[in-house]
Symmetry: C2
Subunit: 347 residues, 2 copies
């Protein structure tokens, strides 16, 4: 008999909607392999939400929202004026908050308040949102521990590329002393185009934008902010570090010249935008983000195009590298589903 | 306050002794990060064992065994004539069996009996031994499930390269439809030497033997048996397949000519001994082991020398590759420790 897991989703953008679609698509596999049924009881958006006492078919939620752009007149279960925090406070019982509101790296809000409220009520939290964990990971983790619930955010730390899982599960018991990561697919795509194509930085960026890989404002990606954000999240979990992104020495790829990239390639080296965190002898973690020339035998040298990858160097397990993983909203949705399943999966 | 985990070790070869050393070396980290203390209460060898009601300092066990080659006259706690099965049956209470006796791929014994007895008593089992799982994984897993205990064997499935963890945890909820693995470090070392050095197969093999990478009888490695064994283990867990190694079409590397490897390299292709398992449209798993020419952009192309790597291709997370990880008895010991910690670590 499958156990019912009651889920509330805050934020119904691309990640939230893809998660809802995935819940429907994976219904049978989740029941047969994990003996679980994920029931979406509520979805919160900006000023109007949906809340029911029973499961709402995910495709109905998605179709309605995509047709109307809001839940204002959602039949029977729509509640005008309610936001995420209202749903979390007022829902009778729920097991998991899925937090996919837009990220605010500075304040973490509104996700931070959602997560605090959910944890305080004894709900597990699975987040695709980096914001709350950049500044408040330790506080939120303590709160989760004190309530005996799980707090997971794989989707925020490189989507379907497993990073936190690898550090916490696959490398359990090992001391991670170095993390190196190609954590931003857009930058890696641009550098790869500059190497193999006939393109300079501007052309490669335009191509990335045309393909929907880069945003129209690419600063977050190409100036290394996104890499620094992810690196801080991962180091704070995997190394028990205490880094803020603004403390990370950060150089982006905007001043890289194509000739430089191709010259390096001719000499057998690959230019990558690398995030690196190293534990020094006094147990302090030093982190930086910068373009690096990797030798061809570096385990991240082959992580090409818009793929991502991460290398953990440890004491007792040597060096372990993970690469790939879907990185669009579908990949983030798959990472959310994974986190939920791992909360309930026996070890 | 750290919880005490009472451990019995069956088999005190290189893996078992390295595990004991690691328990001592990691004592503080395990206590501080995982709130656990691993107490080794007993060690079983062929005809003489050690069993105490309290923890025995691991280094005393290792030092004694390395000095004497047996436990015949081990002070106070030595028991002549007792083997693994006796310890498991007679110990008053224990939490985890660590099974590191020599592998018998055909019968799985003596590990199979040890594991059955331990699971039946409600002990968790962590094994470095492939044998019992090649033919009896499903039966043992059912037994473990019925007793509510864990059954883990990361060390048997490529030591510190995470394979089963990645499939079960990092890719939870995804359907894995293809597994490709460079699962044997010795073969990969030989092929790598044939490509980059001036060596033919015999010379590369001799070098591998000189370095202690290859055994004096290398058949298990170079004829693909080891790859087939690991592939079967991994596919049976990750794909819920039901493959026996002898059902896997298997070609080794003994007939590979160095000129062929170098010619391929000149054409931008890399020769690797690959294990591959694919789920076909009727949900049947087809597996084979054979030397393959990989294009340079294949995620396993860069897994060089004695390193190992594995690529999982999935429906909802795309392709995820893991590479590296210590593969000697120390790596196996680290994998055993990891499995134990993951049994007790909250999700």
């Amino acid at each position: 008999v499958a156990k019912n897991v009651r889920v509330v989703v805050c934020g119904f953008g691309r990640v939230g909607r893809n998660f809802a679609r995935l819940v429907e698509f994976k219904h049978r596999l989740v029941a047969s392999r994990y003996s679980l049924t994920l029931d979406i009881l509520g979805v919160a958006e900006l000023n109007d939400s949906v809340l029911s006492t029973g499961p709402i078919p995910p495709s109905e939620l998605v179709n309605y929202f995509e047709a109307h752009g809001n839940f204002l007149n959602y039949p029977r279960f729509g509640i005008t004026g309610w936001e995420g925090i209202d749903i979390i406070r007022e829902i009778k019982e729920a097991d998991v908050l899925v937090e996919t509101t837009p990220t605010d790296i500075q304040t973490g809000e509104p996700a931070l308040s959602h997560i605090r409220a959910a944890l305080s009520r004894g709900m597990h939290v699975v987040s695709a949102n980096k914001g709350p964990f950049i500044r408040s990971y330790k506080i939120l983790k303590s709160l989760a521990d004190s309530k005996g619930v799980s707090l997971k955010f794989s989707a925020a730390a490189a989507a379907a590329l497993p990073t936190l899982d690898v550090a916490q599960t696959c490398l359990a018991g090992a001391k991670i002393h170095t993390i190196e990561g190609i954590l931003n697919g857009t930058s890696n795509f641009i550098l790869s185009r500059m190497r193999t194509g006939d393109e300079d930085y501007e052309m490669a960026l335009a191509e990335a934008q045309r393909l929907g890989i880069a945003e129209s404002n690419p600063a977050l990606d190409v100036e290394g902010y996104d890499t620094a954000n992810k690196l801080a999240l991962i180091a704070n979990v995997a190394m028990e570090a205490n880094i803020l992104p603004e403390q990370i020495n950060r150089v982006g790829i905007v001043n890289i010249v194509a000739g430089e990239v191709r010259q390096a390639a001719a000499e057998g080296k690959i230019m990558r935008l690398l995030g690196r965190a190293v534990v020094d002898k006094s147990n302090k973690v030093n982190a930086c983000v910068a373009p690096q020339l990797l030798p061809m035998n570096h385990p991240l040298a082959g992580v090409d195009g818009s793929e991502k990858g991460i290398t953990f160097t440890t004491d007792s397990m040597d060096r372990v590298t993970v690469a790939g993983g879907k990185s669009d909203p579908k990949g983030a949705a798959a990472a959310i589903l994974k986190d939920i399943l791992n909360i309930y999966r026996p070890s």
